[in-house]
Every structure is written in structure tokens, then in C-alpha cells.
């Protein structure tokens, strides 16, 4: 100790003593990490060890050979040509394509509906505005699965069949499906026709697909409407006023001035909604539409390969999500650049 002036009450600044290692700010975080990491690794090792042991006991050790074996079951309304002699991987692929079909059509439909409703909530017409609000509040607070079974069992399965079907020009809606006019044999335009009590048309969609689509579009539409509404609300009010003082109509203002600017806010929000729509399409199994999940479940049942099937499922959905995210990120980029 250096003698100091006793009249000075404060001790001289000492160099900070080196703290013990358990209080060293450079060491502690790494110790925490190491401990957590080790615990997680141990847990994983424990689970995997059990998995291997239990699978060995059940004679189901990981193997992918079954993918090459004939599936033995049929898939209705497969976009990919499929029959029961084709291998399991083809069945899963057919299911994936069916899922993608539902997702793509659902995305387009939900975006259209959501945008319209989102726009309607800025309408001058009070009734329309409130209706948009009611739609969003009702749909968002009812589980999607409940809505799907409602559409299927209450709406689509009570449609009339045969002659009594709902007929519009070029479109027929019956219990057996939705029939749409299109280019038929020999590239001739063909409308739906009734042959021996069964409707025929170039384009035929099953009611299962119809119920799934309706459910997905109505449900996601409500969420997208909220995203669109938020986006429009984020555009400064002055833009509206400026446009209308230039003599633009309400719709023209929205379409040409406000919506393009609001895309900046809307697109990231849409990404989330699109991904959840893709994931929600797996509820198709409840309404009898053969999507990827449905095929996977059947496959599990016929082969008993639980672990492999779930890996395929997870990989497929993660890829689908990443794909959507990548597309939306590209779009986002585009939108952001256009602003300048």
C-alpha cells in the first residue's frame, strides 16, 4: 500500500481486481452456452438412441427401399397420371402436386378476395365498410377446420345432383363436382352436358377440392384483408386528398395511387399469410381431398414406415414454405425498388 494523504477520504483508483472466472463476463456466456449445448446434445443422443433401439426391436430400421415398391392404392383426381402399380414415391409426388394445385389456386383466390375486402373497408359506403369488418371478425374467430367441414358436409354435400344441379352459363355445380366449359375433344369449345344423368365437361373439379378451396380462400381472405387494410392505412391521407383534388375517382385513386404505395407494407405481410395457407392446405384430409398429407398417411399405414414418412412430409412442407418465401422476397425487392 502506498501511503496517501489521510485527509483524503476516497481511496485512490485501484486497478480492478481480476474477477473470479464465474463472474468473468467473457467466460460466463460461453460456459452457459456450453452447458445448454451439452444438455441439448445429450437429449438428442438419448432420443436418437431410443429411436434406433425401438425401431430395431420393431424391425423398422430406417430404410428407403419401400419408396420403390408399388403403392397398390389409387388416387382420385391426380394431376400427375397415377395408378396403383406405380411406386410409393410416385404416389407421394402425386399428392404433392395435388397440394401445390390447391395452394396455388388458393393463393390467387385468397389474394383477390382479401384485396377486395381490404379495399371495401375504405369504401364511402358505410354498409359495405361494415360488411367487410363483419366478414373479417366472423371468419377469423372460427377455426379453419370447422369451416372446412362446414363447407364440405353442410354446403357441398347438400348440393343437388343430376338435372336439378345449379346451372349457370358454362358452369354447372352439382354434388358430383364442379363442371366448367372449356376446350374439349378436337379443340372444340364444350359446355357441361348431361349424359345419362351424369354431367360431363372438359374441366371437372371434385366437390372435395371445391370445399377445400372455398374454406382456404374464405379463411385466408380475411387475414389478407387485414394485411391489405393495414397497408392502405399506412399510406398518408394526403395522397388520397391530392388524388381526389386532381379529379380521380375513388376506385382510380385506390388502384393507381394508394395500392401501389401500400404494396411496400403489404407484401411482407402477405408472405406470412401465404405460408400459413400452404400449411393449412394439409387440412384437406378432413374433407376427403387427396393431398400430400393424405397420401402420406395412407403410405404410413400400408408400409408402417412412420419415421421416413414424417421426414418426407416435413421436408416437403419446409421446401414449399421456402419456395413461397423466396418468391415473396423477390416480389418484395421489386416493390421496394419501384418506389424510387
Amino acid at each position: 500500500m502506498v501511503p496517501v494523504n489521510p485527509s483524503d477520504p476516497s481511496p485512490p483508483p485501484l486497478p480492478a481486481p481480476k474477477p473470479p472466472w464465474w463472474r468473468d463476463r467473457r467466460v460466463v456466456p460461453w460456459v452457459v452456452q456450453a452447458v445448454v449445448g451439452l444438455l441439448v446434445l445429450l437429449l438428442i443422443a438419448f432420443l436418437l438412441g431410443n429411436l434406433v433401439r425401438n425401431l430395431t426391436a420393431a424391425g423398422l430400421l430406417l430404410s428407403w427401399r419401400w419408396l420403390q415398391q408399388p403403392a397398390g392404392f389409387d388416387i382420385s383426381e391426380s394431376v400427375l397420371p397415377f395408378n396403383a402399380q406405380l411406386p410409393y414415391w410416385r404416389a407421394l409426388a402425386a399428392g404433392l402436386v395435388n397440394t401445390i394445385r390447391a395452394v396455388v389456386v388458393g393463393l390467387v383466390g385468397a389474394t383477390l378476395l382479401g384485396t377486395l375486402v381490404g379495399m371495401a373497408s375504405f369504401s364511402h359506403n358505410g354498409l359495405l365498410r361494415r360488411l367487410a369488418r363483419v366478414y373479417v371478425e366472423v371468419v377469423r374467430n372460427i377455426p379453419l377446420l370447422l369451416q372446412l367441414v362446414f363447407w364440405y358436409f353442410v354446403v357441398f354435400l347438400t348440393l343437388p345432383n343430376g338435372v336439378a344441379a345449379i346451372q349457370l352459363p358454362g358452369v354447372v355445380l352439382a354434388k358430383s363436382g364442379l363442371y366448367i366449359a372449356g376446350l374439349g375433344e378436337g379443340l372444340r369449345w364444350m359446355g357441361p352436358t348431361l349424359v345419362n344423368g351424369v354431367w360431363q365437361a372438359p374441366v371437372r373439379l371434385s366437390v372435395e377440392f371445391g370445399a377445400l378451396l372455398t374454406g382456404l380462400i374464405v379463411y385466408s381472405g380475411a387475414f389478407i384483408a387485414e394485411v391489405v387494410r393495414g397497408g392502405i392505412a399506412a399510406v398518408p391521407k394526403g395522397q388520397w386528398e391530392a388524388a381526389s383534388s386532381l379529379g380521380l375517382s375513388w376506385f382510380a385513386t385506390l388502384r393507381r395511387i394508394v395500392l401501389p404505395q401500400s404494396l411496400r407494407v403489404i407484401v411482407p405481410g402477405l408472405n406470412t399469410q401465404y405460408i400459413s395457407l400452404a400449411k393449412n392446405s394439409s387440412l384437406a384430409v378432413a374433407v376427403g381431398y387427396t393431398d400430400l398429407y393424405s397420401v402420406a398417411e395412407t403410405t404410413l399405414n400400408q408400409t408402417g414406415r412412420a419415421v421416413e414418412v414424417i421426414l418426407v412430409l416435413l421436408a416437403a412442407y419446409l421446401t414449399l414454405d421456402l419456395l413461397i418465401s423466396a418468391l415473396m422476397n423477390g416480389l418484395n425487392h421489386l416493390v421496394q425498388i419501384r418506389e424510387r
Binding site: Q33, G37, N125, L146, Q147, F150, I275, V285, Y317
Partner: protein, 403 residues
């Protein structure tokens, strides 16, 4: 009347186009409403709900043990009344301190009307009707008592109320599942609304701490924690819930030593919890992002340790910002419990499907699904309303001297 008419005109008939649109909408809406009412009162057969009301409420819960659920219901109603009254008797500085504000009067009236009319309309037996009346009366009585005498206990009352709910939850679990001298009721016998509420409340309660930890992990400076959290969150958020439930039902048995895997219901509840935690983590993360970094630095420079700074400074602010998003997650979690029906569990929707497999009620889809929809809508809307009320209560601008 004049202003009303003027407003109507401005809102509905401002321009010719608006007028056409409004007239069309009014026509379509009234047609739809008329059709629906005609169906609901003349064609619909609501007997399917009335006859199966116990099944919808509690599933196959043994009849001789159902008194335990009633007891729980009495406790819940009393606790609700108590909390309501105590909260009202501790007005925030900005509030007038009125014991029965307008909203409360409306809520109480609604409660009385519902309690008197709904059981009667369902055609429940008189003894059960009487129980519902008793429950409503108890709630209002306790609400009044607590409002009246609550202030005597000062802030202690609020703390006791906050403590009461977790205790009640544990008591409820014991009452439902048995133990401590009560006959055990196996989870496979729980069903209907009971299972829906149990699974969702369990998941909501447990996903909260896990979600907060994950959010903190994701924002941590430690790479291992950060990447671990990111991996977990993105993996869970990338997979549809049904595949995860499927994983829980079919794979979990392989992952644990034989016989250690919990019951299917608990397995599903845990899957729901871990699923919701990932989404909650994202909500909390957005809240954390809204707290300026200076807050943490200031707290640290005041000598608070990192956990203390988080607990007392950062998290309270972050959670307040994240509250709407979190409640949104809780609402979707409540809705997601319907997916349990796809793995063969008899929650509300699953019960509905077995009821409709009963030949006596074949084809009563519309009645059953509509009832469920109304039920879910009310639960979700109530959660949303509650969250908005809580938001207002926690609003720092309304309470300048929050301590």
C-alpha cells in the same frame, strides 16, 4: 331523428352508385337473414345439441364424478366475480372509480339474461337450470362484495387475486384428473369442451415461458443459443401443425423408452405447447425489437445484472408491445385445438363428429357445426376483447406514474 337520417344518407346513398350498391346489399342481406331465420326456427332440429349437451360439455367423463366439474365451475365463477370486483375497486388514477361503470352494467345484464334464458332454451333439466342460475347469482354477489369491501385490503387484495388463479388452476387439474384421495379419471375419458379448454389453457400457460426464452435466445449474442433458437423456431413454423401432431402420436413412442410416453392427450397437449411456443417467440421478439437498446444499457449501467435488467426493465415493456400479437397467437391456439379431432381425440369437433355418426343424428351437420362455430366465436372474441381491455389498462400514457 333528423341527424340519423342525414347520417344514413351520407353513408349509404351519397352517390347514385352508392345507392344502387346499398340497395342491392340490403336486398341480399335481408334475403339471407330471412332464409337463415326460417331455417333456424322451422327446419333445424336442435335436439341433437340438447340431447348430447353433456357429451359436448365433458365427453365421456364418468357421471358419478361429474360433481367435481360442477365444483370447479362454482370455484371458477366465484373467482371471476372476485377478480372483477377487486379490479374495479382499485381504480387507476385516470379512472373515475365508479364501482359499476356502464360496461360492467351491460356485462352483468348480459350475464343474467344468458344465465336465465340459455339453460331454459336448451331444455336442460330443472336442477341443472337452477345450478346455472346459482352460478350467475354467485358471480354477481361475489363481484358486489369484492367491489364493496375490496378497497379495505389495499394492494394486498390485487396480489392475492393474482395468486389465486394459478392455485385455482392446480386445484382444477386435481379435480379433473383425480388424485389426493379423489378417484382418478383417465385422460381418455375427458372430452368435448372440457378437453378443448384444458388443452388450450395448458398450452397457453406453458408456451409463454418457453416462447419468451426462445425469443431471448434468438436475440442473444451467443451464437449457439441464437442459432439453436432460430433453428427451432423456423423448423416449427415451417411445418403444418397436423404433421407435428402426427409426429407426436406416431413417433414419440419410439423416441422414449418403452412405456414412458405420456398419454395421447398429454402428448397432443405438449405438441400444441411446443408448436405455440415458436409462434409466441416471434411475437415476443417483435416486442423486444420495439424496446430501445438504451433501456438495457441504462439498466445495466445502474448496476442491474443482465437477468434483473431483462426482468424489470426490458421484458415488461416488450411484453406490453407484444400483447396484441400474443393474444392473437392464443386465439389461434384455441382454434388449433380442433386439429386434435384429426388424430382421433374427442375434443369439441371430434365429439361433434362422433355424435353425427350416431344414426339418430345423421345429417344434422348444419345444426352441430353452427353451434360449435358460435361457441368458438364467442370464446375467441372474448379473448380479443379481454386483450384490448388489458392493453388499455397497461397503456403507459394513461398511467403516468406506473410503479
Amino acid at each position: 331523428m333528423k341527424p340519423v337520417l342525414r347520417r344514413l344518407r351520407a353513408e349509404l346513398f351519397a352517390t347514385p352508385a352508392d345507392a344502387v350498391l346499398s340497395t342491392g346489399l340490403i336486398a341480399v342481406l335481408s334475403l339471407a337473414a330471412f332464409g337463415f331465420l326460417r331455417w333456424a326456427f322451422t327446419q333445424a332440429q336442435w335436439a341433437v345439441i340438447r340431447v348430447n349437451s353433456t357429451l359436448f360439455a365433458v365427453g365421456r367423463y364418468p357421471v358419478e364424478e361429474q360433481w367435481r366439474l360442477w365444483l370447479l365451475l362454482w370455484l371458477l365463477f366465484a373467482a371471476t366475480g372476485l377478480s372483477w370486483g377487486v379490479l374495479r375497486s382499485h381504480p387507476r388514477p385516470d379512472r373515475s372509480g365508479v364501482l359499476w361503470p356502464r360496461n360492467d352494467r351491460i356485462a352483468a345484464t348480459l350475464l343474467v339474461v344468458l344465465g336465465l334464458w340459455r339453460p331454459a332454451a336448451m331444455g336442460l333439466s330443472l336442477s341443472i337450470q337452477a345450478r346455472w342460475w346459482g352460478l350467475v347469482a354467485l358471480l354477481l354477489l361475489v363481484r358486489w362484495l369484492a367491489g364493496r369491501f375490496g378497497p379495505r385490503f389495499g394492494p394486498l387484495g390485487l396480489r392475492l387475486v393474482a395468486l389465486m388463479w394459478p392455485v385455482l388452476y392446480l386445484v382444477g387439474m386435481v379435480l379433473i384428473s383425480g388424485g389426493l384421495g379423489l378417484v382418478a379419471v383417465s385422460p381418455s375419458e375427458w372430452g368435448g369442451l372440457l378437453l378443448t379448454l384444458l388443452a388450450s389453457s395448458f398450452a397457453i400457460l406453458l408456451c409463454f415461458p418457453i416462447g419468451v426464452l426462445l425469443a431471448l435466445g434468438r436475440r442473444s449474442d451467443l451464437p449457439l443459443l441464437r442459432w439453436g433458437s432460430v433453428l427451432y423456431i423456423e423448423f416449427i413454423r415451417g411445418a403444418p401443425l397436423i404433421t407435428l401432431l402426427f409426429l407426436g402420436q406416431n413417433i414419440l413412442g419410439f423416441l422414449l423408452p418403452g412405456g414412458l410416453a405420456p398419454d395421447r392427450i398429454w402428448r397432443a397437449a405438449w405438441v400444441l405447447t411446443f408448436f405455440a411456443a415458436a409462434y409466441l417467440a416471434e411475437a415476443v421478439r417483435s416486442g423486444l425489437a420495439a424496446v430501445p437498446r438504451g433501456q438495457l444499457e441504462a439498466a445495466r449501467s445502474l448496476g442491474l445484472s443482465y437477468p434483473k435488467a431483462l426482468q424489470h426493465v426490458v421484458l415488461p415493456q416488450a411484453l406490453r408491445v407484444a400483447l396484441p400479437a400474443m393474444v392473437g397467437q392464443f386465439i389461434s391456439l384455441l382454434q388449433d385445438t380442433t386439429l386434435l379431432s384429426l388424430i382421433g381425440l374427442l375434443e369439441l369437433l371430434g365429439t361433434a363428429r362422433t355424435v353425427m355418426a350416431n344414426p339418430a343424428f345423421l345429417g344434422k351437420n348444419a345444426e352441430v357445426y353452427l353451434t360449435l362455430a358460435v361457441l368458438f366465436w364467442c370464446c375467441c372474441a372474448a379473448l380479443g376483447l379481454g386483450s384490448r381491455a388489458l392493453e388499455r389498462r397497461l397503456d403507459p400514457h394513461a398511467v403516468p406514474s406506473a410503479t
